[in-house]
Point group: C2
Chain length 121, copies 2
DNA sequence: TCTGTTGTCAACCCATCGGTTGAACAAGGT
DNA sequence: ACCTTGTTCAACCGATGGGTTGACAACAGA
């Protein structure tokens, strides 16, 4: 799980981290500030922040002894690009190719099983 | 991690599973079919499929002894809704409030250090 | 300089994840 | 009734994830 896209998805798979991100859209926050609503230790929150940071979702600038956390919204684009790309493709298939697929399944031939690799990056 | 949104994000945090989803946008596939490009066991792929299914990303209809896997693209909306909501919020803040923030920083007064709390759910 | 605040690092615990192998099951084809 | 094909279940393994506690670093203010 080295690529950024994976890290971003993984980061947002946690409800606490999603909530943090949501709150960070309103304003920057210090770690303490950010930790307040959750009933976990400050260290746990610090870990969450580290995950978000490694995903590129937030940055921390050290300002005196407090490190305000700042949201980097551009990373969202990484996800939306991925999602939109495949969603559009899927939708196209469901609408225009509906009848065609039905026919293809009808003509399904196990011997020519074609794993369908395509680009599949 | 019980909510669907978390499950969807977690499911897509794995490159292999993302690749499967990508390929499923082109056409439905059987498990064998789907497993072909990867050099992991068939059982591993079956597990991945289970994860995708529990996230609501795919459905399997038993047809004869093979279980064709079908992509459910609507779940994508769940993510895009979440992402777009907060991205728009973040962007609004970055653009409209840019100057305001700059001025606030300028007038920065240590005694009124204002952690910027706002509503902070 | 001593103290309090803010945050991180380190070690540990337990649950989950992604992978394996081996066995089982279910539905055709012959 | 077989055997083959397609797929899943079960048990296990090492790595990772989210949580804890305890110690420590860095700076502000007295």
């Amino acid at each position: 799980m080295t690529d950024q896209l994976s890290r971003v998805f993984a980061a947002l798979a946690d409800p606490t981290r999603r909530d943090m991100v949501a709150r960070l859209t309103e304003a920057d926050h210090t770690v303490n500030d950010l930790a307040a609503p959750y009933d976990v230790s400050l260290q746990a929150v610090s870990k969450h922040l580290k995950v978000l940071e490694e995903a590129g979702l937030v940055t921390r600038t050290k300002e005196a002894q407090r490190r305000p956390v700042h949201l980097e919204a551009e990373v969202f684009d990484l996800m939306t690009r991925w999602i939109e790309r495949y969603r559009r493709q899927a939708e196209a298939r469901y609408t225009a190719l509906d009848a065609v697929l039905a026919r293809m399944q009808d003509a399904d031939d196990p011997s020519t099983a074609h794993p369908q690799e395509g680009t599949a990056s």
